[in-house]
Subunit: 361 residues, 2 copies
């Protein structure tokens, strides 16, 4: 087991990465203010892992309620969140009942938000079961639900007390979901960890075959990167955390433009990172070879490298509606060189050329 | 104008109390990260004060959106909250748009919660227009909405950047609402400010005639008391803040037992404080004369001094559902002496006698 510590001054916590962690109840129990938990999962993940987790917790004398939600991003809404509150209140759960998220990013984001606002704040533990959730969404305390007018518009910064990334759970993850998670993994290499980018180039086949040792290394490295950034800028005010949005300004536009669900988030981020690479190349900051290396790595990860052709106007409109907007100007995460990103703006003509080069047509 | 400072280490803020504050835009503008605000009010308060506030803000070059909600505790729900999000998103408000609550505690609680979770946290200003909101709900950062299974079950601790208590707005407040606010005022005297309790005994008639000078003194004193407690225990973890619940364990049971809306919150708190007084008397802690003084003051404030007779079993059931419960035991705020409260439990037989003495029959 590897452990990454997230060093927040007021509420530091550990991210454990390894095999068989669902049974390692001694990692969880000391963190519970009361021996009562509510495990929140969904209809896909619950049949696979809920009983295992429940059995190990009950073995340690913990009273477990479980709340099983429908599966899918389309349920990341207030109505579904309310099912969590209904379950908690029906079981008379107090504000010291710990909420445990068992699932991917959707379950993690919703459960975290439910914990943030249930009786003004209940304890919370993340057990992420997708690669994306293990390297990204479970770490850092961003929680949210969607609003009909925008994704993740309603939420809170709310830190878990523990993140348990059990590598065994990844064995049942569909290939497409696994690749989508790799997009976020590759993102960390591109943001500011060139050494990791090169490691990924050498080990992408091992990752694709879900080799535990390679996965453990990659997940630990991502968590370490994210933990460092989050510790510097917990609430996304200092701009440091902004870099984690590499590929996301474009990516969110792609997801919204195609209609949520058409592409997976990670797929849209992959195409978005390619657009960021093209834009940076257009600005004269990275060379042809760098663009080619990014493209090759994403391709080996079975990710899209061309963005859908929504047209300049539609892209701009979609990106202006994205929430990473300061007084109307759109911010992009761009590449100064391979493995080194910064936040900035894009002149309109550069954006136009970028879309010409980077979109499927 | 009087000013009380709430000394929170990370986000201190001022509570200004005085006449004509709606026009004192120079108190607001320096606190806005962007010259854009969304004023949230309701159908009763908006016609009275919204234009005045809007005119003064627009005069200072601030772009104002306004969101007018239906009036009433029954609208303190997710559906109504969503109207705030709809309004913010329809106007493309960013996370630096400041939300201003203009209204009583319902508007304050909902707007505060909306600000807490809109894009994971937008700036927030309170302009309380009821006495209850000026002395209690606008100070301290507790925000919430109701859930069908419980009042204030979903919420956040989220501090405003400023509280403006404009005494002029109290002139239009219905008498019953005004008295309900006085219940919370009297509460502060009882908790741990005997000097203030005696001041209230001497000045209750001036308060009832809404004398501005007396009101300013009382509101300042209440805010000072609440600010001190909140600064010591921002998130209600240390037990200090618990004392603010004097009369509330019983009061919430009364509100729920009669059906929300039958009694005003402050009315239920008044009857709840009388029950707390009877219980403390039963425990041998305060004498007959003290009980009589509390009763006399509440009566002069036109508040109920007898609780509805819901029966012992129903009271217990209702209070066990109240959220101030630690592992199933019910906590009460009781009086050690007149003007000095503490948190503790009540033996069943004492509770029974208390209800016998304190309930209307
Ligand atoms: N909070 C953050 O910082 C953050 C960061 C990135 C993404 N997100 C959010 O995360 C969400 C995406 O997360 P995701 O990619 O994990 O999607 P997801 O939670 O929808 O999971 C993807 C699919 O895999 C299934 N699944 C999960 N674990 C499985 C397992 N072990 N075996 C088999 N199937 C399994 C799920 O039921 C689902 O059908 C989005 O809502 C996004 O907004 C949040
Ligand atoms: N957050 C906290 O710490 C806290 C503390 C106490 C109470 N509360 C909450 O506050 C709420 C009660 O607040 P409230 O008593 O202010 O009730 P309220 O907000 O419902 O206001 C009472 C009535 O007075 C009207 N009104 C408001 N200002 C007026 C004015 N100036 N002139 C004429 N009419 C006016 C309102 O429209 C409403 O009809 C409850 O929901 C309670 O849970 C919160
Ligand atoms: Zn992402
Ligand atoms: Zn109250």
């Amino acid at each position: 087991m590897k452990t990454v510590r997230l060093d927040l001054s007021h509420s530091p916590y550990d991210i454990h990465i390894g095999q068989g962690l669902l049974q390692r109840v001694e990692l969880i129990v000391p963190l519970l203010p009361q021996k009562q938990v509510a495990i929140v999962s969904n209809e896909t993940v619950a049949p696979l892992y809920l009983e295992k987790l429940r059995a190990s917790l009950e073995g340690a004398g913990v009273c477990c309620h479980s709340i099983v939600l429908p599966d899918g991003e389309q349920y990341k809404t207030w109505e579904t969140l309310n099912l969590i509150f209904d379950g908690l209140l029906a079981n008379r759960c107090e504000r010291k009942t710990t909420l445990i998220a068992l699932g991917g990013g959707v379950i993690g984001d919703m459960t975290g938000f439910a914990a943030a606002v249930y009786q003004r704040g209940a304890p919370f533990i993340q057990i992420p079961t997708t690669l994306l959730a293990q390297v990204d969404s479970s770490v850092g305390g961003k929680t949210a639900i969607n609003h009909p007018l925008g994704k993740n518009m309603i939420g809170a910064f709310y830190q878990p007390r523990l993140v348990l990334a059990d590598l065994d759970t990844l064995n049942t993850l569909p290939d497409r979901e696994f690749s989508a998670g790799l997009a976020e993994v590759i993102k960390y290499g591109l943001i500011d960890d060139f050494e990791f980018f090169e490691w990924l180039e050498s080990n992408i086949e091992r990752l694709m075959s879900r080799d535990s040792e390679a996965l453990a290394h990659a997940i630990e490295r991502c968590c370490r990167n994210k933990a460092r950034v989050v510790a510097q800028d917990e609430k996304e005010t200092a701009g440091v955390r902004e870099l984690l949005n590499l590929g996301h300004t474009f990516g969110h536009a792609i997801e919204a433009g195609l209609g949520y669900g058409a592409w997976l988030h990670g797929e849209a981020v992959a195409a978005g990172m390619m657009l960021a690479a093209h834009a940076s190349h257009e600005l004269g900051q990275i060379d042809d070879e760098s663009v080619a290396r990014i493209k090759a790595l994403l391709t080996k990860a079975a990710l899209p490298v061309a963005a859908p052709d929504l047209g300049l106007a539609r892209y701009r409109e979609l990106m202006a509606g994205d929430k990473k907007v300061e007084s109307g100007r759109i911010r992009y995460i761009l590449m100064r060189e391979l493995g080194q990103c910064y936040a900035g703006e894009l002149p309109l003509d550069v954006l136009e050329k970028t879309l010409k080069t980077g979109c499927d047509r």
